[in-house]
Symmetry: C2
Subunit: 419 residues, 2 copies
Amino acid sequence: MDIQAYMLDLGRAARAASRQLARTDTAQKNRALLAIADALQRDSDALVTANQADLAAARDAGLEPAMLDRLTLSAAGVAQMAEGLRQIAALPDPVGEMGEFAYRPSGIQLGKMRVPLGVIGIIYEARPNVTADAAGLCLKSGNACILRGGSEAIRSNQAIAACVHEGLREAGLPEGAVQVINTTDRATVGALVTMTEFVDVIVPRGGKGLIARVSAEARVPVIKHLDGNCHVYVDVDADLVKAGRIADNAKTQRYGTCNTMETLLTHHTVAAEFLPVIAAIYLSKGVELRGCPRAQEIIGAQVKPASEDDWFTEYAAPIVALKVVDSLDEAIEHINHYGSHHTDAIVTENYTTARRFLREVDSSSVMVNASTRFADGFEYGLGAEIGISTDKIHARGPVGLHGLTSQKWVVLGDGHVRG
Amino acid sequence: MDIQAYMLDLGRAARAASRQLARTDTAQKNRALLAIADALQRDSDALVTANQADLAAARDAGLEPAMLDRLTLSAAGVAQMAEGLRQIAALPDPVGEMGEFAYRPSGIQLGKMRVPLGVIGIIYEARPNVTADAAGLCLKSGNACILRGGSEAIRSNQAIAACVHEGLREAGLPEGAVQVINTTDRATVGALVTMTEFVDVIVPRGGKGLIARVSAEARVPVIKHLDGNCHVYVDVDADLVKAGRIADNAKTQRYGTCNTMETLLTHHTVAAEFLPVIAAIYLSKGVELRGCPRAQEIIGAQVKPASEDDWFTEYAAPIVALKVVDSLDEAIEHINHYGSHHTDAIVTENYTTARRFLREVDSSSVMVNASTRFADGFEYGLGAEIGISTDKIHARGPVGLHGLTSQKWVVLGDGHVRG
């Protein structure tokens, strides 16, 4: 198989489909989404069978349990994929949104119109549901997409792709609108991320290794998510009841998510009162405590010493780092230095302190008196999300339909010329 | 001189300054802008003298007259730079703008805040005024910048840099906020566009060669402007008086600008009436005509045959390509295929035709009954512009203060946790 030629074919088909999709009206896109959902649900047994073949091969290859878990697609998982597509169909169509029209002194009326980006390349690992989610988000936002799933999920992904193509055909849309790469050859990734003529943006979804590799090779712009090293800062003026709820929820509601808190910062004035309470909660849930010397002194021997590395670490595990700080300035400095610019929260009742935290913490989501766990596309009302961006260029934070679009300027005149 | 070490020093200083600038209030930024303007005006004679040394060296080196023209900085040019900075000071500060706050079903209140990008690298040629314009736009938008001007302008740029630094100092801002590379060594460009740790975005301003080189080498995201191959389409339902004014203005008001029309498309039904009129106007202004066979037939021997290449060409000269088309579809197809996705206009009185043109032409500015010459930052009310982007990612069209910012999500709660 000539990978370069294969990928160029995909690229050309995607570009052609993207031109058609950009003009496709909302109703037709929604028909395709619903038809794909129906096909997935109807083929549920076949999808689960394909997935079991992937799982068997993965077990033979000695994949880790966590990876097997992410790879698994149950009948309930299929139903969830279908439901996700129906939710995307129900979302407002961002394409063609117009606004901000105002007259300029020259007499022209200037506004903006939202447009698709064109062709999106998505590179992901394990989870087969990404195939349906990504296809749905790209389709609704008027973009063609080329999907490159993990090699361990290729049977599942091809089975899902068949349902996607059936739905596209039923709605009268070209199959080039959603193409799932049908080989596990890694050269396809290198080709995809360098086809600047045919691909407008790359979204890698997966571990740090994948994202680093994609970023290093890419010539196409990348919307990427690096670490989720999130913080909660309990201020001197915090309501400690709220602080306890938030620090508990941010750490323990789910350990593996990117918006989970990793380091809890506490103002020294309230540390003696607050830390023993929250430490007891964490210990009762089996969370390992690592702390600075002052946190150790207050809580006691259950706290292991935190190293410099701990402050930089996204544990994605039942471990929390505890640090006592002397001031808001020190908290902000710590977050901006050690954090990953993902999501950080302050607990405070002080207006000026809250305002400074919001302005000065350089993260994609900044919060007052709320759990970092809220930072996702569903909670933000974006419907689904294609990922969470820790970049500042283009999209920041959860990337939903709007993050997959751009805007063009619209000028309305009546024979106006420039003087 | 160790270029790598020198550039890393600039990068570190820029990153540190960017953190401070992001927190700097509007009044202090404006004080710096006005102090820079005053210093430029006061040092006008010295700036012109430095520029004359650049010009003498450029003449010795045999630079083309057009290049010498762009390089020239007169006393009036200095006054214009100063005035530009005062205009930037008068613009609203985009940093910290908040909006779109709405309650989510969970009870959190979700909105957005505008934030600087961080550190901007700008690579440009010839025109020394870019040094002051770029410094001003970056400063107002809370970004630090590293400027790499053309080697032919190094004396002028260093003289301007001295005034910028004086203004920064007077306003209590670090000199790292605006750094102008003080060597003509080309290795500085390679270093600048690959320092992903210290530079957040690169804006190349100059000829195609420069932009292609920067794009090929860059690891930092690039906001770039490629061609300006703009079109006016005179529809079957055009008001031909408006069409004449617009086609004249779009081509002849200035020949060298990127928003100048290069190809005029005319619906065949009105071609016999319209083309002789507009051709006479062009010929009276010394504009060379190149056309398709139908345009040649209608206008006559003054029209040279247009080749396939002509449709792709940004002449930036008194030359216009003329094509007769059979339909709106053919016009849209031509623009999307041969154009550069910059700025394209339709002249029509037909509502449905106008609506289709706006939606289906894939350009950063689309216009109805207005001259393409309106597509710039000043006419769009952005104040100055750092450039015009023909990309879709991040910024599209004229890039002013807002294009140099990003947005973060802001979540306001009252002890909210995720269920």
